[in-house]
Every structure is written in C-alpha cells, then in structure tokens.
Assembly symmetry: C2
Amino acid sequence: MTQPSPDLLFKALADPSRRALFERLCLDGEQTVGALTAGAGISQPAVSKHLGILKQAGLVLDRHEGRQTHYSAQQRALAPLVDWTGRMNRFWEARFDDLENLLKRMDQ
Amino acid sequence: MTQPSPDLLFKALADPSRRALFERLCLDGEQTVGALTAGAGISQPAVSKHLGILKQAGLVLDRHEGRQTHYSAQQRALAPLVDWTGRMNRFWEARFDDLENLLKRMDQ
DNA sequence: TTTTCTCATAACCATGTAGTTATGAATGTC
DNA sequence: GACATTCATAACTACATGGTTATGAGAAAA
C-alpha cells in the first residue's frame, strides 16, 4: 500500500471531467458507472476510462456486484496533495518569519 | 485580484517541469530565468513558456530588472487547492461521522 | 554605435490525451 | 437457451501540449 505520487494525483485531477467524477463520489458517495455516466455529459466508455485513471491514481475504489461496478472515493489518497501544499506553504512561512525577524532586527 | 480557478492550478501543476520550477521558487526564493534554466534539463524557451503558464495561473510573479526577469512564488495562489482538498475531506469526514453515529445508534 | 547578453516569441514537430463508435464479456432476466 | 443489461476494451480521430530551433526586442557593455 504505497503512497500515490503527487505527479499521478495532479495529472489525474487536472482533467475537469475526472475532477467532476471524483467530486461527485466525494459528495454523494458510492455510485455505479451508469449513475455516473448520467449527467456526466460524456459517453459511458469515456467515463469508464476516466474511472480507470482515477483508480490507478489511488483516488477511487471499485467494487463489483453482479453486472455493475460501484465506485467510491478513497479520501486518504489526497494526503500527498495536502502534504505537498503544506511543504510549499511551510517554506513560504519560513521565509516570511525570516522577513519578520529582519524587520524586528531593523527596528532595534 | 480574482482567485485562480482550481482548474488552472491543477493543470499548471500537473506538469513535472512546471512543478519543479515552482518548487524551486518556493524553496530557494526569487530566481532569474537563467538561473532556473540551469539545472532544469530543458531549453530556456521551454522554461520561459512554463513560467508564463505558472504566471497565468497566478502561481508566480515576475519582476523585470534590467535585461533579466526575476520570478518568485506567489504562495497565496495555493489557497484554492487547500480549499478544494478541504472540501473533499470535509464531506468524507461528514460521512464518517454519519457512520460513527450509525454505529453508536446500533450500539444502543 | 556596435556588440553582447537575457529573455520572450514564433514556427514547427512528435507525442499524449480526451473524446467517439463498435464490440465483447459477464451477469441477470425471460 | 435466448435476450437484455452493464461495463470494459479496442480502434480510431481530433486536438492539446511539451519540447525543439530560430529569431527578435530590449538593456547593458565595449
């Protein structure tokens, strides 16, 4: 169970159709391919392909039941994204602190 | 000063070269195009084009000084990303809470 | 002024990608 | 068994995209 790379996540979420599918799964919970296709505005094969990419990125899980496949969001998969943005912000804050320190020193 | 859309941000950060440039700007602070090109592994025009896309996404700022251009990270631009991941996680937590409540009710 | 340096833009090319239709595999229904 | 339903895959197309080289614009240096 290795962490998905930020690269895979960013790439997977860069497409609006995929992001919309993932958002629906987050907001409304588990859904079948048919349900997701309705209202997606693209064909069922396109939806299936997108779901495959989301799955490969670790963003969704699939569960087979009879002849339909249920997809659900794997929320933990967003962790690397949160980490990454946190790292970028951390460095910014560090340099911001430096600036504050500089200003304080200049004040004296 | 309108907020950059998550779409622009995800698209801009989906490319490894661009993400590397942005990371360097976050970690090491302001840099000229020449400095960024050294060690980027791609040509100077490619770097310039990537910087243009990052700028359009609101991720970097440019500052002209003589014949060189200095780029720096605009950290606030990551806010929509943090918001988005927060929203996705919030809904997950909400459903998790529902599950917990359900289990508690089942316990009684 | 002429030359050099730094960067951005133009033009182009190869590849990746998001969509389509057609079809097949597996399951449920009659 | 015959048919219908649900999804995934294959094959294809159109376009986006990331890279290149060539060139131009503007500022500094000679």
